[in-house]
Subunit: 243 residues, 2 copies
DNA sequence: CGGCACGTTGATCAATGTCAAGCAGTGTGG
DNA sequence: CCACACTGCTTGACATTGATCAACGTGCCG
């Protein structure tokens, strides 16, 4: 699904629709010009790696079209899927801002178009426009909050509760409407990737799904999900022990 | 152990020894004056809460003396210990920078002296001195890296491996010297808190400790630990499967 | 003394990982 | 077109981990 909107012969940061949704929205025209000069756009097919854990930071990646998964793995070959990035999202900024190497890998999960903004350019923009830094400061601080939330979540919830939670997040992001019942939508992930998002195995994932179907929480057919009542799903991880 | 060094009759940000070790080191004299005006110092006994999860952010806390644990808990009453803060460390900046409420609580684990820098003051300093913002940007980005590391770590390692890892971290921070064998030092935490740092129960903690003693990894007597060989401890979480 | 927090230990059980097999769908080469 | 391999998913059997519940010892403090 390349270039659904961009029949634009010349793609650039000025005409980029996504810009309103990310940090670059604070840039002046002058700075946008600089951003555009520091940009290299590339297309990736599913499975292709955009940046790799351990690599020196090349800059900030800006997703224009597609879906990108951010993975992190340890020495034993285990890995987890930390984030899903949608069009408009930026990636790789953590490494740049921390002055480190990438500590996770970015991999296209759908055909994607990604712009790389050169590290030197981003650094120049950061010193040039303090508002950009503050913007990132807010963003990274919120990310840190979410990450710490996730640590607690993983430590104290069961696989089933974590999956229920993940499902509601996916509904929020990928379902057309979450107001009608049943809510139906297409999972953007394989079973394996679903499992690695909640830190479990594909086998446990499969069993959890089967059990939740039995309990009438949701029905699964391939990647198609139907949830009769969102409320029941939410109760899986929000115990309403108000007696 | 109050005021081990500060027989200074008048405690302030200029004479504060800790300042060199945190973000405030980038401030000018003028700005330091502002910092000092926005400061309120308070002492806490073990168990006392310094800031509380869910509270509106009052500012940034600066630990001068003592030890503070940062806890996060969920609706069911489970909780984990996210960080340990030592003199010179600052706390609560995540909430301020994200523009959120505190999402964790700070609790004195030892008698502590803590300065609170008023939120408005910090915000003024941030807009006034971009270097401070960049400093925090680096800091928070590194924290985010550690948090994501921890997510992977918790998801893929056993309780024993996680505890071994925690022990090496504690050795780094609290042992006099880690070059002599055996390494000996005093744990700054109760069994319960050790457990909540790696997301397990005190019972499992106890058993893990017992088993590691049997295996000759370390000996425990109350809070006193002795580690014959650091290398063997490290191997508990760094499998050297180079065959 | 009695109560209480802390730590340990035992017994038990549920949750989850591991290993192995099988099945459906898909593409490939003969 | 078929045989084959391959991948993703599911299922079963089993082992292991770790949580839970309960009991008990120890030291501390009123």
């Amino acid at each position: 699904m390349p270039s659904s909107e961009g029949t634009s012969k010349k793609l650039n940061c000025f005409t980029c629709q996504r810009r309103e949704r990310n940090e670059w929205c604070v840039l002046s025209d002058e700075e946008l010009k600089m951003l555009d000069r520091g940009r290299v756009t590339k297309e990736y097919m599913p499975g292709e790696v955009i940046f790799h854990e351990g690599d020196a930071c090349r800059g900030v990646y800006c997703l224009e079209v597609g879906l990108v998964g951010v993975r992190k793995s340890n020495a034993d070959g285990n890995s987890i899927l930390l984030h899903l990035n949608n069009p408009g999202d930026t990636m790789g900024y953590r490494a740049l801002l921390a002055g480190e190497e990438y500590r996770a890998s970015g991999e296209a999960l759908e055909p994607s178009r990604v712009c790389l903004i050169d590290a030197a350019t981003v650094r120049t923009l950061l010193t040039h426009n303090p508002a950009l830094g503050l913007r990132y400061l807010t963003r990274v601080s919120q990310n840190l909050g979410s990450a710490e939330e996730k640590i607690l979540h993983n430590a104290t919830f069961s696989v089933r509760a974590r999956f229920a939670h993940l499902l509601t997040v996916l509904v929020d992001r990928y379902a057309e409407s979450k107001d009608e019942s049943p809510v139906e939508f297409e999972l953007p992930l394989s079973r394996h990737d679903l499992a690695s998002m909640i830190g479990t195995t594909p086998e446990s994932m499969s069993r959890t799904i089967a059990k939740m179907e039995q309990d009438g929480i949701a029905t699964f057919s391939g990647r198609r999900v139907s949830i009769p009542l969102l409320e029941t799903l939410v109760q899986e991880f929000e115990p309403e022990h108000f007696i």
